[in-house]
Amino acid sequence: MPENTPFRRVGLRLHRLPRRWLAYYAGLAAWLGTTAMHIPDGYLSPITSLVMFALVLPFWAVGLRRLRDRMDARGVPLIALMAAFSFVIMMFNVPLPGGTTGHAVGGALAAIVLGPEIACLAVSVALVIQAFFFGDGGLLAIGANSFNMAVVLPFVAFAVYQAVAGNRAIDSPRRVVAALVAGWAGLTLASLVAGVEFGVQPLLFHTASGAPLYAPYPLAVSIPAMVIPHALVASVVEGGMTAFVVAYLQRAHQPLLLFSGGAAGQGPAAGIGRLRGLWVGLAVLAVATPLGLLAPGTAWGEWSAQELTRRGLSFIPAGLRQLENLWGAPLAGYGVRTLGNAALGYLLSAALGILLVALCAWLFATLVAARRRSIGKVEE
């Protein structure tokens, strides 16, 4: 084989990895990839669990509100049946090439059929039942599991589905491709978020001697360990399952695909399709964030008190000095210390930031829209 073929180059890359871990990682990847991602108690600190509950709560509230607005009492049995369906879907052993099987979460399918807000409720209910009655996933970890699998997965999957499918006809093959990509992207991003949850544990919680108290690996290990196996196996199962079922529904149950109201491009996330250019631009900007490392100095006007002194300012207001240490940002300076790699840290910060801002903006928009609707109703 010539020296410069792509294969050779990849071979060289792999060679640089510590060899003895390679077989282990391959085994771990195969094992992790075939299971769904339910975090048991003991991996996350109780404080993290509490924070995750706080993050999920608004989505549950918005889901319940949407349920009340759109379907009234009819929603109760619908959610119950869809949660039961999601539970049963998690039990499917999907045969994979190579002789193993995988499990799907079903969150992407639920989002495509029901819309993400209601899918969030249905998957959460399924997760609560799994934790309480079947011991699958921890009780304290319900918040974290719901955030990963009932918020990130359906919302990302729905946005991707909308963006790829656009305004195509309901039986267009493009919708099957969209479902495949949606399921894959949704679960992969969910595994990234889970990796971040695991990775911050040793940073924040350890004994005096430095032994981590909960999940032991730093971000540099936990993120690839979660994302790579999921991207290669579990997300493929999720995407494949979603695509197969959407293809089946196109043949046999087309009305189901129209239910979420998003199918014809009128859904709540249809805006993502319209603003596709903007999203692409945002992604390019995010990928380009490590360029910031090249620029020397601090952004104008964002100096810390120490820098102000260095710049020749002789008087620093006492209030500024005090307030400066009031809030320590979790990703101070947009660098993730333990990653050890500044560029990777920037990318991660950018991705997380965009995700958080998008979620907040969506939440705000939904609340405003709901308020306007209820005001409209009163005026009628």
Binding site: M37, I79, N93, G135
Partner: protein, 282 residues
């Protein structure tokens, strides 16, 4: 980082496709019948108010989470074993459910931490592998915490009948509507499991020989799609049935619980143990 099949559903079966799914479904149904049977035994925990048990379990889980000393977590695990014994939960089942899967799941995840966590050397193995003291400590923390938490969760689930457990969730300020949805989900879950089992069984009985993998995938996807259609249809039928009985969207969970001296004593004891454990090792 993976599933928690320490106490998972049907994950013990690694059989493939159709057969594996069927085996998993049967196992889940078996398990729930067994859990219901244990919940009816005349043990200590079975006789307590579900609300006391839920609060006590939460307090103990949080304590396990907050403990920073291994002996404290070990003590809590022994407490869980004692409670299982006085609640007439078969000990072999209780131990197996936690420890058979632990080495495979949490174990395989925790193993590299033995070597990768920087710290002073504990044991030097051949080929330059070194187990560090901090690595051993963090691995033990993870294993102890996960096994103790799973045990306490199992105690609550195995000793409380599901309808009582659901009503008991009111004590955590869970809205009544949500409890109604949970209850309906649990009820229809079994119906869907049985429907799916019937669909797959009838299909299997018409097959001679083995299906190819693409055929199996297509069959499972079609089953999932059909099940989705059936769930939708059933939800509107259930709604009509509810409406014809006068359901207007308001729910009220009737609970006839009342806390007795025994319940208060148990809850007080659990909180005292939690406070003591956090005091020693928090």
């Amino acid at each position: 980082m993976s599933a928690s099949p320490e106490a998972g559903v049907g994950r013990h079966s690694r059989r493939l496709g159709l057969e594996g799914t069927l085996a998993g479904l049967t196992h889940a149904l078996d398990q729930s019948v067994f859990a219901e049977e244990v919940a009816r035994r005349p043990g200590l925990l079975q006789g307590l108010d579900p609300r006391a048990k839920i609060l006590a379990t939460l307090a103990l889980l949080i304590t396990v989470g907050l403990s920073r000393q291994l002996p404290v977590i070990a003590g809590l695990y022994i407490l869980a074993l004692l409670l299982a014994a006085v609640s007439l939960i078969p000990m072999d089942f209780f131990l197996k459910r936690v420890w058979i899967f632990m080495p495979f799941f949490t174990g395989i995840i925790a193993l590299p931490a033995l070597f990768m966590t920087p710290g002073p050397e504990l044991i030097a193995l051949p080929f330059g592998w070194v187990v560090t003291r901090t690595g051993a400590l963090t691995t033990l923390f993870l294993l102890a915490r996960v096994s103790t938490s799973v045990s306490f969760g199992l105690l609550l689930v195995m000793t409380t009948r599901w309808n009582l457990l659901l009503k008991g969730l009111r004590v955590l300020l869970v809205p009544e509507g949500f409890i109604l949805i949970l209850g309906m989900t649990y009820r229809y879950l079994y119906l869907l499991l049985q429907t799916l089992e019937g669909m797959l069984l009838s299909r299997r009985s018409r097959i001679v020989g083995r299906l190819s993998r693409p055929e199996e995938r297509r069959l499972l996807a079609a089953s999932a799609g059909t099940l989705l259609g059936k769930s939708f249809l059933m939800s509107s039928e259930v709604y009509l049935a509810m409406q014809s009985r006068g359901f207007q969207g308001h729910t009220r969970v009737i609970d006839t619980f009342h806390m007795t001296i025994r319940d208060w004593l148990f809850l007080g004891g659990a909180l005292a143990v939690s406070a003591l454990a956090i005091g020693i090792g928090g």
